[in-house]
Each structure stands twice: as C-alpha cells, then as structure tokens.
Symmetry: C2
C-alpha cells in the first residue's frame, strides 16, 4: 500500500505537503476538473469555509490546525463520499485508496502503525455534518485496538488496566454501533463481571477482570454476528466509516433534521483522528468550554471538566462535572493554555466558540471547536458585546441574532410576586417559563401532548431516544447532567424551557413519580420550571410579560426603569453606540437592562437598514393599537368577516335567508352603521398609516349551523314527535341549499361579492363613510380596498367599477376628497400567472400565501395537517410544513412570477404579503429577495418581522453567511 | 364642412383616391405611425382581410367593390372607433370630421345631397362585427329622410306613397332603435291608422294615410323623448352610429357572443351605405342566396326572394319567400346577373358564399356577401366538392370542417323503421333528431330545461329575444320563416335540431298549445322533430345511430353498404381521390354515401397530417374495444377507482375498517385477483398499444356512505328506540373520522398511496401480473403506471421505488421481462412549476386539466358550475366554461411551463393530456401548439379529436385562417 502512487496524489496534492494550502473551493474544483474525485482531506488541507464538504467539525479541525493549535492529526472523509454511499449503497471506488494514503501519512507523522504492537496508532472515527446534530450520529473510539495492539498500548501507556479498558470499550462501542448488537448485552456482561468479582463500580475492575471481560465481549460478538470481532485495524476503520454514513439516516437523525430544517441530502463527513486519552490518570481529563456563557451571555470562560475521563462522558451528562475554575485548581498549566487558546479562537472566529478538549498527561489537545449555540438572550448580548469590543460591526451583530430568538425573548416569565412552592433549584439550561403536567417518558409526553395537554418531561437524564417526547413537551426537567448535557443542548436548540442537574429529585419512571424531600409528584401533577433561574415549583405559577416584550410594547424608558438599570458602560460606548440614549443607573444587576439595550440597539439597526416595511394583520382597533405599539407601519390585512361574528352573525343569517331584494337590503342596512363604526375605530388607531381592508372572504354558509348537526337535531326531534319550527326547517333548507362539497373551492371571496347584490357595496360604503367622517374630524385615514380570491382581471374590473362609483358618491355627498386605492389578493395560481392582466385593474397586490399554498399544492390546511402531514414530514416530502415556511420552489415561484408580471404592467404597483408566512423568518428573507414592499403579520410577530427584514437586508447587501 | 382639410386627409389618404389601395395592416399601421387614427374607410379602401378592423360585412363590401361588382357606395367606421366609444363613453374626437369627409365624397360620387330636397341621398347604417351575429345588432334604414327630403324622394322615385312609407319606416326604426321608444307605440299607431281608414293591410294605406301616420309617429317621438324627431340628416347619421355601437353591448348580443365564444372586446364596425330600394314596385325586390345548399351541401344556387320588399323582411322571416327559381321567372335578367356574380364570388372566395342582394327597378345591387354558414353534413360535402372541383386542396378542406360538425354528424337519427305519427313536414333547417316536451315561450323553455326536462321550443317565429329559450331547447320548431330565418340561422350555428316554416301548425302561445288539423298538442306533450327531413312527429320516436357513426364504428364498407351506394362520380375523382376505394353503386340517392365518403376522406387526411396521437379514456375492456374501433391509438387514462364500485365497494369498505395490518392485507388480497382480471381484459383489447393506468385517486371515504345521511338515519332510529348495530356505529365512526371539509383538497391520489400501506402496491402488482400473464400467452401488453396528484418529486420517487421493486419481483417470479414506464399526472400548479424536478422521476407526464383547472382557479367543478358559473358567463368573466375549453391564459400557461421544464430535465419525456379538454376541439389546438404528443378523451370523442388534431397540424403548418 505504501508503494501505491494513486492518480489522485499528483498535481495539487503535491503542493499541500509544502504547506501551500490552497483555498477550499478552487482546490476542490481543480480536482473535479481532473475527474478524479478527492474524497479525503488531511486536517492540514481543510479550513472553516469548507463546511459543505468537510462538515463543521472537519472544517474547524482544519482551521485550528492552520492556526497552529494543538490538534491531534487526522483526516476528513467528505460529505460527497457519504452522498455517493447513500445513493449507491456502497462507497466510491476511489475511497479505499485515498483512505490508505491518508492513514499512511498519519502513521508517518507519528512513526506509529495502526494496530501496531508497540506504541500503536489508535484513531477515533466521528461523524461531522455541515450543521451540528449533537448526539444524533455515531462515534467509535479506540479504533485500531486488537489482541496484539492492546499489549502495545499497555506498554506505551504504562498502564495495563487502561489498555484493556480501552479495548473493552472499543468492542462495546463497535459492537453496538457498527455491528448493531443490542447494547444491553454488553452492559449486562459488565454488570455480571462486577458482581462476580465484587466490584462496586467500573473503576474497581482490575486489568485481569477487564481482560476476561474482553473475552466475554468477543464471545458476544461472535454469537450475535456469527463472526469474530475484527482484528484487522483497517477493517475496523472501514466498518466504522460505513457505520457513520449509515447513522446519517437513522430515524432519530431524520427527526432531528426535520425539526432543525436540515436537508436529508447533505450527508455527513467522517473525521478519522489519532486518539489522545483523557483517562490516563489524574493528570489527564477531558472537557468542554464556551468562550462566553451560552446561557446568559456573560463574558468569561465557562465550561465543564471531568478528570480522568474520555470526552463522551461529559457530553452524555452521566457524571457531574467540575467547573473550569475547579480545573484551574487541579491543572493550572493546562487551564492557562486553554484560556489562551480560547481567546485566540474567539478573536479568530469573532464569536462565541464552543470547544472540546482533552488533557493527556498534562498535554492539552483541542478536539473540536465551532461557533457555539447560545440562548436567545445570550445571542443578543454577545452580539452587542462583540460590537462594543470592536470585533464585529452592527450589520454582523444583526446577522448573529434571529427572529426565533427574539420571539423566544418575548415569552412571558413567571410572576415574581406570585406565591410559589419551590421544590428545588437546579441548573438553568434553556430559558423560559413552563407550566405543565409532569410525565415520565417520551411516549407519554407525545400521547398526552397529542390530546392537547401541556406537559413537562421529567427524566433522570435524556438521550437521543427521548427526542420525540422532548419536542412534544413545554419544558424539560432532568435530575442529572450539566448545561452541556444532551437535555440542555437539545432544549436550547429548540427554544424549549429546560432545567437540568436537579439532583434533589428522586425520579422513579417505573412508578411514574418523583420525590423531593417529603413531596411526591405523580404523573399528571402540575409543575412549573423556570429555565432562566433553574427553579422548579409545585403547582401552577402565574406568568408575566417578559422585559423584552415590555420594551417592545411600552418603550425603552419604561422597560429600563422596570429592570432597575445597571447597564454596563460598555453597552453604550461601543462603536455603534446610540448617543441619544441616557440611562439612569439603578439598583438592578444590570443583566436585564443589558438585554433590553442589546435588543433595542439591534432592532433599531434592523429598522434602519431594512427595505421591507412591516404591517400587521388586525381586525379591530384593539389589535391595531397593539400592532402600532409593536412597530407596525400600517395594517396589511383587516379580515372583515371577523366583524360579523357574535351577535352580528344573526344579521348575516337574515341576509342569507332574505326572500326578496327588500329583505336583503334591510339586512344590509342594519349592518352598515356597525361596519362603519368598525372602520372608524380601526382607522383612528392607524391614523396616518395605510389600512388594507379585505372585503368579506368566506362562504356565507360559514355563518350558518353545520349541516350534519342541524339535520340530526331536527331528525331526532321529529322522530320523538317534538316540535320543529318552520324557522328551523327554513334554516335547514338554506343550509342544505348552500352546502358545498368543497367550500374552500366554492362560492367565496369575489365570487360572493359578484353574486350577492349589495354585500361588497355595503362594505365599500362603510369604508368610504368612515374615512370621510375622520377626514372631517381632521384625521388622516388611509384605507385601501382589497378584493379577495381574484382569478381573472374581469372580476376585479367589475368590483372596481362599483366601488369607485360608491366612493365617488360618498365623496360628493360628504364633500371630502377620498383617495382609496383598490387592489386584490393574489392567492390563486391563476391570479399569479395572469398578474399582468390583473395589474391593469389593481393598484396593489397582497399575496395571500395561505390560500396560494393550498391551491398550489392542492390541499387544504384543515384537512391535511392532521392527516398525512406528519407522515409526509417523516417521508421527507417536506422539510417543514409549507404553511409555516413558504415553499419557495413551488408557491414562491408563483409569487415571483406575479411580481414580475404585475410590475411589467404597472411598475409602481404596491406589493405585500398578508399570509401567515409574513411573520415567518425564513419566508421574510424570500419576500425581501423577491422584491415585495412589505410583509404583514400578526401583531405579536411584528418585532420578529422587523428584525428579520433587517437581517434580510444585511444578508442581501453583504452576503453575510449567518454563521451564528 | 366641405372646406375642411382635416389632418387625417393627408399622406396615405391621398394615394387611396388614385385607386392605389394599400393592403390592410400595413396601411393601417402607417396611420398609427402618424398618430392620426383613421376611423373611416371608404368601401374602395377595404378588402376581405381587414375583418378585424372593418368587420365581416365592411371587409366583404370592400372586397366586392374591388371585384367590380355592383355595390352601392359607402364607407365603414372601424371597430377601433367602437372600442374607443366603449371605453370612453364618447366617440373619438377625429371621428366627426372623418365621417363628414366620407359623406362629402359619397355626395360627390352620386351628385346627391344627404337630406337634399331633390334626389336626396339616403343611407343605411348597419352594424358589422368581425364575426357574424345575425339579428343581434341594430340597423337603421332610410337615414337622411326628413320633412324636406321626403318630397325629394317622392319626386325621384316618382312614388309619393313609397316616399312617405319610407319616412314612416325611418321614424319607426329610428324611434325604436336609436331613441329607445317602445316599439309597440308605433305598431299600435299603425294599427289604429289602418283601422281608421279601413285598410286590411299595410299596402292598403295611401300616401295621404302615411303622411298622417308620419305626423302621428313624430308626435310619439316628441311625447316620449321631449324632443322632436331630428330633421338634420347628419344628426340622424351620428345618432344611428352611436346606436349601433351601443347595440354591441345589449344583453342579447352578449348572450350570443358567449354562446359563440366571441370576445366582448372586439366591438363592431358600422357600415354607412347609400340606400337602394327593393320596394319600388314589382320590378324591385330583395333576397338572400347561397352558392350551394347550406343544409345539404348540394351544389347550385339556393335562396329566398321577396319581390317589392326591403331586405330586413327576408331575414326576419315574416313573409314566406319565393325560391330563386321563382325569381328567374319574374326577372330573368337580374337572376342571370345574380347567378353570374355568385359564380364569380364562389370562385373568388373558393367557398360557399352567402349573399344579400336588392333589385331596384331592374338593377341588381349586391348588399353583402360572406362565407356562408352551413350544416355539418354540408360542410363536409362542400369541402370535398371544392377539392374535386380543383378550387381547394385537402389541407384547406380539412380546415373547412370542425370537430363540432363531425360530432354533430355522429348524433343518432330517428329509426326509419319505427312506427311514427307524422304531424307535418316542413323545412329542414338544422339537422339532427330531437324528441322533447313542447313548450311555447323562452322563459318556459329555460325553466323546464333547468329542471332537467328535454324541451322543444315551438314558436310562430323566433326573434333575438328568444335566444335564451333556444339555447335551452333540444329542438326548435317554427310555423313561419325560411331556411334563412332567424330560427334557422341561429339553430344551425348552435348545432340544435330545427324545423322551420311549418305553416300547417296553428300555434297559440297564449293557450300554450298548437293545432295541426284535428290534433292538439299542449304544453308538455312529447313531440319529435327531424332536422334533416323537416318532419314533425307526435309522441316519442326511437332513434338509431347515424350513418357517420356507423362508418366510424364499423368501417367504410359496412356504412356504404347500409347507405345504398350512389356516390357521385366526382367524389372519388378529385385531385385528392383515394385510388384504393372502389364503391359499389347501389340504389340510394347517394347523399348519405357522399357524406360518408366526405367524412372518410377528410378524416383520413387528418390522420395522415396530424402530429398528435389520440388515445382514449377507458376503464374496462368494453370501453377500450369501442375506443379502438373509433381510432384510439391507446388508452391514455384508465381510472382504476371505477373498478372498485358495485359489489367491490364492500371490499374497499373492509379495507378502510381494517383494525390491524392482517385485516388490511386480507382485504387487499381479496382485491388482487379481481383487479388483475380488470387489467387482463383491458390489455387484451389494447394489445400492442399503450395503456396508461392511473393508480386510485379519490379519497377512500367516497366509497363510504354520506356522513349526514348516515348520521340522520342512526339518530332517527336511536330516537325511536330502534336497533342500531355495532357495525353501523363502527361505520359511522369511520365515516366521521375520514370526513373531510374539502375532500378535493384532502387525502387522495398519491397521498393515499403513501398513507394506506399496500394499496398502490396491490394495483402495481395486479398490473405487472396481468402483463406477465399476457406476455406468456404471446400477447403484447404495454401498460404504463400513472401516479395521480403529484405535488413534489419526492412523492413520485417514493412510489417509484416501491413500484419498481414489485415489478422486478413479478418479472423474476414469472420469468418474463416487464418494461412498465412510471409517470405521473400533472394536475396541481406545484407539479407544473416544479416539473423539472418531477421529470427526474417521471418517464411521462399526463396533464390532468380538470383538476389543474380546479386548483389553478381555486374552484371545484361540483360546487361552482351550478352556483355562480352562469352569472360569471353573464358578467363576461368567462367566454366559455374553463372546464369545457382550456383556459389558455391561466391553466394553459402552467401546462406550457410544465412542458418546458419537464423537457429541460428529460428531453424525451412522454407528454399527453387526459382531462376532458383532451376531446375539446379548441383545446386540442392548444395542446398541439404547446408540444404534447397525444390527447386522450372519451371513446366517443376520439373521431373528433383525430379531426381536430389534423386541423391543428394544418393550421400550424399553413397558418390557415379557418374561415369556414
């Protein structure tokens, strides 16, 4: 093998050994040109911009290597190799040779042989996808150990017990992960051995015990797979690589990706890295660290350290960890080195870094770094800290936070003044305030949640198998594990409230209860957890609005006053400081005020840079007022049908049952003053801002009773000989007559307006009269009339003719000039593809992406979300529900066509969106890119939309990569 | 006015007076370049290719003028002027001057003054749209008459009575048409005058009587309009022009256009022509003529003549007319001249011409010509006659007939052998055999038809107000009028069976009955009319298949034998004769055989030239066999859900109610042999031809009882204390569970296949096993698997994976090679816009234009056709239902996108359509243009589709205008 000079080792590959590292993409492409796919990259060849190809871990190992940091040597197998494997079911032909060459290089660098009998080279084989998927995929450590090299390792480490423990760990891990043997078989054998030799714990087992255990484990492998444990080290490597590839497509990995909106197509890279050992004695150890506190955003080193342990022990959260301060007491040299490297990394990445490291007999090794996940509050604070430290500018700060994080911060918190029964206080792992019924396993969490219960999942510790239950729960509480445990990492990622390490809890899943002191909480009991403080309460606890929400809703002054001041000087002395802000320092600890200031500065920057305006969907004065406080620049959708509910439903019923024009006109006349008053209230709140009023959209029979219900009720009473009135029979007849097989595709929207005489006219008259009244009162109402469900320009022409006539009439009568633009929803595919024609009659378009999604896909939200959607997510037809985030390829393509066609007819046409996608972060970026002028969303989403519109503008203008 | 030299009279206008007539469009455009719109064309400037601008009448008057035929001079006001008027509500500023100049020219040509007091110039003002709209719009004759010029006319005509009669006609027509005065007021005054002077009929009134009547009429005008009848001739002209413009938008005109699919946007031209008089005595007259018999296709002059009458009298069908043979006896000179001109015109137009003429004191004037409407049989026969006479080639012949006409000829006819009660025999005006209940007015016809009755409208004569009832009726029977009467022309246009001039009928609309001899037929009685023979029968008459259908279904030999032979020699000696045909001459009159031969030759030519293949939609062997006989080249759609009706419905019910996988698999296993047998039968009939099988499409709950019905039934029995079985309750629960608010947008198509395990698999297995069985029997089955309702390529990928596995399995087990392409429906907008992705997984696309229309427009056929569709047609949103003819602008745009995108991924991808549009003539032209490879339609539409596919190919390759 050493003599081989494979084709791929010529050309560019020669230069890399000179340290002349070519930059990622061009290098990669030069290989492509030669038609010799390069599937293996040495760490010296990688860099952080090659995440697509090398995965996050591999790319960052490359980056650290070139920064001169102490990284154990190794190489990365590309995601391209994984994709090849996924599509073909076998590895690309070139891979084996390339791996051989890379191993040979590794052996050369150390002058050690993989599986050699003295100082053997051992490697870890780890997954590493583009996006972090903590705990989702497989890792195999100690690869290279066999009956021969275990002796070499014992000699090298001068520790026979360590060598045999490493070997049994390999067989156990390899057996479970690579060979698919039930893990309990190994665990049971381990327990049996401990029992047999009277060992209290793993560490009490001697080298001889472990040697015997290795034989037991090998017997298990032989029995379960009908083949002996592979002694050939290279066979171990190859099998582990395939196991990692396969782990990309496990169910839990797919569930995670769906939740995180990661494409199944990406595949994972595989990192093969020489092993270093944190379990060689008290001068060894392993840990994880963050360059800032990922939960609160506080500056300073933060992490967990486990002496004499392998890395997986920390992440698994099985043993309680030491803090970094404790590590400093144990190993000051390694600690200082770690802090120096952390500073280097943060200055290099200009962001919070998440680090995994191992100390092997006093020598520090960096195993991984990446930009660290963080809580929402930390994201805002850290971004502003980095601005004030001069590391990034405001555009980058804006790019480092997300609408989802802002949304998270707007959640209410527990009422501090309310009486509470504190059960315990543990580690705050993911902020928020959650109240729910305690459940003790994942299936119960999912089942109860599906029935509409709000649940808190209580576990000793979580593992990837709990993912389904974690998603279904409002909060997660564990008795064990630190802030970097599985539960903590996953919960932060999902924005779910989480408290971990509550060791006061005695959790008994079998009995479905937990005990704290003399309190017993059984399944179904209400508990409350505070993910910001780590507190756990018994029973219900009332919640209050968040300080960030208070800031958004009531303004900076009130929010800062309530927070008690104490903002650090740095917050408002950075390069982008707002000199108009003068903050009175108060008595608070400053954390809340810092957060408010960070949100304020970033959101203000978003407002300054964004191109998209943000309007709100509001149907009445109250909603409009709230929306305006939250920053809405108008109302993009007032759904007038909501104004016909309650008492007024009777009037619509009268309209439907009207037997002649006179009766119909009477019903309409009764509605006019009510409807006019609705608009007076709305326009008053939106004084000076545009208010788009959509004429009535749903089928009229939605205001009538349900057919089956009414039929059964009447049939039953008839059968019993009870009275059925003529009015009821008449109502049933009307319900039967207007019943539609597919009301979504029936007589609604403009069709209704063109069919029921006087209906749209009533609404237009109410709008015009309300506007006239306010103008006479000296106000500045700016209504716009929006016609729903337009499919053809002819429909809009007809409505426009009548509307203009009525507006002229009101204008003449009231003696005020009325400028009321008329436009329409674009919510049917036909409207999109004939938008050039429709634009002749429309002064503006508003995309109704809910309906457009329904008709483009041909499914109705009501019918399908509860039926085949979960299956479709499972099958990978969707990454995310198209009702949540706009389907850019399908629905988005129609939006883009309509924009282009509409502007071709009327370049100055108004363009907005009022579907629920208007408040969805990812969709907002699409709407920005496609050239809309505004998005409109529910009032509570307005701040999120403002932020994301700003982010979209920054991303477009700077091509920011959004690494945060 | 004469001195005016308007801007438009310079440049190109100068050349026209030299007879240097520029060709239409370029001439028109040169005016546009000068920005001086030309709204008025002298007849010497027009030609037959300017129909868009000058309307059909104006263009043909221009054409005849340049052929040197005797056309009374005049000019045409363009459709552009009309469109301007429609959009602005007033005439373009330039029009008045241009009309003045044209009138001045006319006065110069005749040396007469409009409204002059000696030899006054009188003009007719007539509408003339691009497409003929017989009787739909207004005409005003004798314009230019006033108190002064009436004396001049009397002197010129040497007939005082004629002059005053003309004047009273002008006031009457102008009053009604231009001034909007109720026509009865004039009619009553006329009757009163006749009564007062004791006149039996109009002709008994003397000049003095008429003079007094004119005063009465003028008084009516003054009373009704508060203004005197306008004496200024130019004011009369201008008002008449506006009246014609306005008549474009009357309700009856819009109804007619909708029926005929003429755009409301076209507008009408107005022809102002110097009057000639057919009512100047016995040496005068007026008539209409066809160069061939428009009903039967027989060669030779054919027409109606009314001596001493104005033209409108003929068309109105009020007086019974003479034949042209009778005219020859009265006025041989004019007759000969007319025949000479008819020959000139037919040779010039190379088609059947429809002519209006007037003889004024022995001088023949041509008032109009156009390519004449004809019956379906005549269309085929005339086209072949013209081929055999060397006037046109087969491509043109093909272009001269339509699928609608062929469809018409496929109608059944009355059984000649059945006993019948003949009431009378009259003129066969529009062929076909209609049986229905007699009704006597248009509202009744519409009301009864709406209730599902088949009706025959019986009228003395029809007028444009009857149009609604005519459309609603299966047949039309009138007591008066000739083959060119309103009833005859309109019925032929609609393809409705019609018998006219049945003067044996004594129709009493008020009593709602008619009498023939001693038989009285009252409203609701069944009658039968034969539009081919003119026979009217009492009671029901059985019908038999048409000879053309027999030809199509059983072949040429059988059909000709049944027709009795007698084909004219010319039929098979033309330039395109088929030398392989040898027809035995029999005893028939040859008309039927001639028709069969004409259809055969034209359809054979269509088959030879068409690019589109024609498949059929067939769900079973019987349909497939019929389709194949009718020329289908495969099955484009087998709807497998139709195979689960009847007894098998129970099996689907079992499938739905299955509580566990075993029960489900049992239900599926029971279906497998049945489904396999379905395919064996189908593939056997289609041996050697492709058969596209669509996997089950509708929601499964369509196989269950209706929710409301079942709920009411159970509730009623519960209330009465009757037994309700557990099975019924279980069924109700299942129905409730699977109920969808919008089943069209629910769990159906591929969604069902991906949700119900084993369902699609069963169908694919049945297809594969059926194919394998037939291959082993030496047959050549060519199944294709089609997946419905694909929205994303992922769905198709998933189905394809499973289907390929099953096909491989069957292939391996049965030991036969199975090549079964897998493709999908494109019936969702998303499929259309992501067709590039879908084509990766699809070997073919079949456009499901029914569903695509539903989702593109966002309406479901079931819900909307009965609700707002008629209103939408009325309002002009549709010209025609988009379910009938494809909406090219909206739905068609998506089809075109999908074709382009699909081919970009897979250039050789199969492309067809299987929606109902596949059999619609207009839609077929679109599918041809957009590049599909086949259309699939119901078996009975196959011949129509073959013909239209041929016509589409000819139209594309030759740019044929389709004037017939």
């Amino acid at each position: 093998m050493e003599g081989a000079n494979p084709a791929w080792a010529v050309g560019p590959a020669a230069t890399k050994l000179d340290g002349n590292r070519p930059r990622g993409d061009s290098y990669y492409h030069s290989w492509k040109v030669l038609n010799v796919p390069k599937y293996v990259y040495n760490f010296t060849e990688g860099n952080k911009d090659l995440k697509d190809l090398l995965g996050g871990k591999g790319a960052n190992l490359g980056e650290m290597t070139s920064l001169g940091l102490p990284v154990p040597p190794g190489f990365t197998i590309t995601t391209e190799a994984c994709r090849y494997y996924m599509h073909h079911g076998y590895n690309p032909a070139e891979l084996a040779d390339q791996v051989s060459t890379a191993i040979t290089q590794l052996e050369g660098q150390f002058n050690r042989q993989l599986g050699g009998d003295s100082e053997p080279l051992l490697v870890s084989v780890r997954s590493g996808a583009k996006f972090s998927m903590p705990g989702m995929m497989e890792t195999v450590l100690n690869v290279g150990l066999n009956d021969k090299s275990v002796l070499g390792l014992a000699k090298f480490a001068n520790d026979e017990r360590f060598a045999w423990d490493s070997y049994r760990r390999l067989i156990q891990m390899f057996g479970k992960t690579v060979l698919g043997i039930e893990g309990d078989l190994f665990a049971d054998a381990l327990e049996a051995k401990k029992k047999a030799v009277g060992a209290a714990s793993d560490v009490d087992l001697t080298a001889e015990d472990l040697k015997a255990l290795v034989e037991d484990f090998k017997a298990i492998v032989l029995r379960e797979t009908s083949a002996p444990f592979p002694q050939e080290p290279r066979a171990q490597v190859d099998a582990a690589i395939v196991a990692v590839f396969n782990s990309w497509n496990t169910e839990r990995a797919r569930i995670y990706r769906r939740r995180e909106r990661i494409s199944d197509e990406l595949g994972t890279a595989v990192n093969v890295q020489s092993m270093v050992f944190g379990n060689l004695g008290p001068d060894s150890g392993t840990g994880v660290a963050f360059t800032r506190d990922p939960a609160t955003g506080h500056p300073g080193a933060y992490g967990d350290y486990l002496p004499n342990a392998q890395g997986e022990d920390v992440v698994a959260g099985i043993r309680n960890t030491l803090s970094l301060d404790d590590m400093a007491k144990i190993d000051k040299v390694s600690y200082d080195e770690l802090r120096r490297i952390m500073t280097t990394l943060e200055n290099h990445y200009r962001d919070l870094c998440d680090i995994e490291f191992t100390v092997e007999r006093g020598k520090l090794w960096m195993l991984q770094t990446r930009v660290g996940k963080r809580t929402a509050a930390a994201a805002f604070k850290i971004a502003i800290q980095l601005v004030d430290e001069g590391l990034i500018n405001m555009d980058t700060a804006l790019d480092r936070v997300t609408g989802a994080q802002l949304s998270n911060l707007m959640f209410p918190q527990f009422d501090a003044a309310a009486p509470k029964t504190l059960l315990t206080k543990a580690m705050a792992a993911s902020p928020g305030a959650a109240v729910g019924q305690a459940v003790f396993d994942s299936p119960t969490a999912q089942a109860w949640a599906a029935q509409g219960h709000t649940v808190i999942l209580v576990r000793r510790e979580t593992n990837p198998d709990d993912l389904g239950g974690m998603i279904a729960s409002a909060g997660i509480l564990t008795a064990r594990g630190g802030k970097t445990s599985h539960a903590a990492v996953v919960a932060r990622g999902m924005g779910t409230t989480c408290v971990v390490g509550a060791d006061a809890l005695d959790v008994d899943p079998a009995a479905r209860l937990f005990r704290v002191g003399d309190v017993t909480v059984v399944e179904g009991d209400l508990i409350a957890i505070d993910g910001t403080t780590g507190e756990v309460f018994l029973g219900n606890v009332p919640v209050v609005a968040s300080p960030v929400f208070q800031y958004l809703d009531e303004g900076l002054d009130k929010a800062l006053a309530a927070a008690g001041g104490g903002v650090r000087e740095a917050v408002y002395q950075g390069e982008d400081r707002d000199p108009t802000l003068v903050i009175s320092k108060g008595q608070g600890d400053g954390a809340t005020a810092e957060l408010i200031m960070a949100v304020h500065r970033i959101l203000s920057h978003a407002d300054a840079v964004r191109r998209l305006k943000v309007r709100a969907n509001a149907d009445n004065g109250e909603d409009a007022a709230r929306a305006r406080r939250l920053g809405a620049q108008g109302v993009g959708l007032c759904r007038t049908e909501h104004q016909f509910l309650g008492d007024r439903r009777k009037l619509i019923e009268r309209l439907i049952l009207a037997h002649n024009p006179a009766a119909r006109e009477e019903a309409l006349a009764a509605l006019l003053p009510l409807q006019r008053q609705d608009f007076v209230e709305l326009f008053t709140e939106m004084d000076g801002l545009h208010t788009t009023v959509r004429l009535i959209d749903p089928p009229l029979h939605e205001f009538l009773p349900d057919l089956t219900h009414l039929s059964v009720s009447i049939a039953r009473r008839e059968a019993l000989g009870e009275d059925v009135t003529d009015a009821e029979r008449e109502l049933l007849a009307a319900v039967e007559k207007s019943h539609e097989s597919n009301p979504m595709l029936g007589l609604r929207g403009v069709r209704l307006g063109l069919t029921v005489p006087g209906l749209f006219a009533l609404q237009v008259r109410a709008i015009a009269e309300a506007a006239a009244q306010l103008i006479r009162e000296g106000k500045d109402p700016k209504p716009e009339v929006m016609v729903p469900l337009i499919g053809s320009y002819v429909e809009l022409d007809l409505v426009r003719d009548e509307a203009e006539r009525i507006i002229r009439e009101v204008s003449d009568r009231e003696g005020v000039a009325l400028d009321i633009p008329i436009g329409c929803m674009i919510e049917l595919p036909r409207a999109a593809v004939t938008a050039d024609e429709i634009a002749r009659a429309a002064e503006f378009f508003s995309f109704g992406t809910n309906d457009l999604t329904q008709t483009t896909w041909g499914f109705s939200r009501d019918d399908v979300e509860g039926s085949f959607f979960s299956n479709y997510m499972e099958l990978g037809v969707f990454q995310v529900s198209p009702f949540e985030t706009i389907d850019t390829k399908g629905v988005g393509s129609l939006v883009a066509q309509a924009v282009k066609l509409g502007q071709s007819t009327r370049p100055e046409i108004g363009l907005g969106v009022c579907g629920e996608h208007g408040g969805d972060p990812e969709s907002i970026h699409f709407f920005n890119a496609v050239g809309l002028q505004y998005v409109s969303c529910s009032p509570f989403r307005v701040p999120v939309a403002r932020l994301e519109a700003g982010r979209a503008a920054v991303a477009v203008s700077e091509g920011a990569s959004g690494t945060a």
